[in-house]
Each structure stands twice: as structure tokens, then as C-alpha cells.
């Protein structure tokens, strides 16, 4: 009763490459196509972070947007203008697909918000492709 969803948008730009070392060149190309090209490529990502809650009776806020921004920015600084495979520690054993990136960002933002429950992350890789993650309960 009285729950409101608040969503804030963030932008970051990163490069990545889809490639499994234990697979042959042909297998990688078959699975990943252009995304397997050796030197990688990049995207302008857009991340929408949604939180649900009952507005605080004193402030009228579900969460102070300054706090939300600070928490998310402190995570995204590790991804913005970085090569996801080479400059972050999260993709040594998994491919930096939009799917996997969404789940990594969920864990980090959840921690950064000190347990404030996230409702949804929506991560756009391009204007016409996005992934949504609702946490493990989905």
C-alpha cells in the first residue's frame, strides 16, 4: 500500500569483446559473430535503476536522489570509459554480455546502497536492445 517506483537513468561508455579462450576461432565466430573480433568494440550504455518503496512521511521521498546518484556513480566509475574484459575484474570467467553485465551491476549497486532493495535494473546496450534484471527472485 502506497508503494512508489522511482527510476533514475545513468549513462556510461565501455568497450568489450565476446570470446572464450578454450574455444576455437571458428566456434567463437559462430557463437559471437562480430562481437568476437580481436580488438573489441564499444557501446554507449544506458542504465535505469529502479527502487520501490513507501515515501518517507517527513521527506516525501522513497530515496534521496542524491544518495541514489552517489551510490550508482561510485559503481559506474569502475566501468565508464573502460574495457570490460581488460579493465574490470568481473569478466575473467564470463562473457561481458549485456545479460551478465546487468547481474554484475546489480550486485555492486545493491552493496553500494547498503541493502536498499533494488526493484529492477534495465540496461540498454543500444536503443533497440535492453536487458532487465530483477535480482535472484525473478
Amino acid at each position: 500500500m502506497g508503494n512508489v517506483l522511482i527510476s533514475r537513468r545513468f549513462d556510461f561508455s565501455s568497450s568489450h569483446r565476446y570470446y572464450r579462450n578454450e574455444w576455437s576461432e571458428e566456434e567463437n565466430t559462430r557463437a559471437f559473430g562480430l562481437c568476437a573480433l580481436p580488438n573489441g568494440h564499444g557501446h554507449n550504455y544506458t542504465l535505469e535503476v529502479a527502487i520501490v518503496g513507501v515515501p518517507d512521511p517527513d521527506t516525501g521521498m522513497v530515496i534521496n536522489l542524491v544518495d541514489l546518484e552517489g551510490a550508482v556513480d561510485s559503481v559506474l566509475v569502475g566501468f565508464d570509459h573502460k574495457h570490460l574484459n581488460l579493465d574490470t575484474p568481473y569478466f575473467t570467467d564470463r562473457i561481458p554480455t549485456t545479460e551478465n553485465l546487468a547481474t554484475v551491476l546489480w550486485e555492486l549497486i545493491h552493496e553500494s546502497l547498503h541493502g536498499t532493495r533494488l526493484n529492477r535494473l534495465r540496461l540498454y546496450e543500444t536503443d533497440d536492445l535492453y536487458v532487465e534484471y530483477f535480482g535472484e527472485q525473478a
Binding site: Y18, R20, A31, F32, G33, R94, I95, P96, T97, T98, E99, N100, A102, T103, D127, D128, L129, Y130, V131, E132, Y133, F134, E136, A138
Partner: protein, 138 residues
Amino acid sequence: MSAPIVHLSRHYTFSASHLLYTDHLSFEENEAIFGKCANPNGHGHNYGLTITVKGEIDDATGFVIPLDTLDDAVRRHVLDAYDHRFLNVDVEDYVDLVPTGENIAMEVWRRLEKPLAGRLNKVILDETRNNRFEYTGA
């Protein structure tokens, strides 16, 4: 821990004409219900179609679905049949069904349900930028 479940959404477009008219009603009744949309020669829209699939992230590829698999299914089962067609005349789905946004969303679902083998989660049809129809199969 089991693999995370994510939703992936991909946006497509097609352009088609239609008219809203049913033979079960008189011309006057059709005009009364459907207004200018009952104009006998039809009219057209640039439709936006967003297809959402839901599933576990594949451990090896990091994909919930390979994008070319999704693209191929939507192209072969929907876009090839709908794009640049007069829906009432050229598409069998609407021989006895008024091609409203509601019905198109449900017909797209019907066309994709099998090819996407249990992973189809939502169909969003934008008829114009003001009119949106969503169907989740129930």
C-alpha cells in the same frame, strides 16, 4: 547458485496498413465504433514491436538467447508476413479478426510462442507513439 534469470528485450519496426472493420456489423455500426479507422481503403502506421524473452543466462555464452536466433524468429514469423502489407487483405491472421493493436499484439504472440520455445515473455506493440499495447500471453 543457479544461473540468474534475466529479461532481454529487442525492438523492431514494421510498416503496414489496416482498417478497423468487421463484417459482423453494418457499415453504419462500423463507422460508429471505429470512426475514421473504418475508412474502406485503409490507412497505415509505422509499428514498433518490442519482443521480450525471459530465461537463464547460458553459462558459456552469457546469452539468454543468441540475438541472431531472436532476430531470425521475429523476421521469419512476423516481419516477413507483416511488413509493407495491408493486414486485412494480405495476412491470414486477420481474415476474420479486426487488426486492432490488441489483436496484433496477441497474434504476434501466437506466431512467436513456438519458435521461441517457452522463452517468450512479452509482446509490446506501439501503433503510434501515443498508443501502446502489451500482451504477456494470459
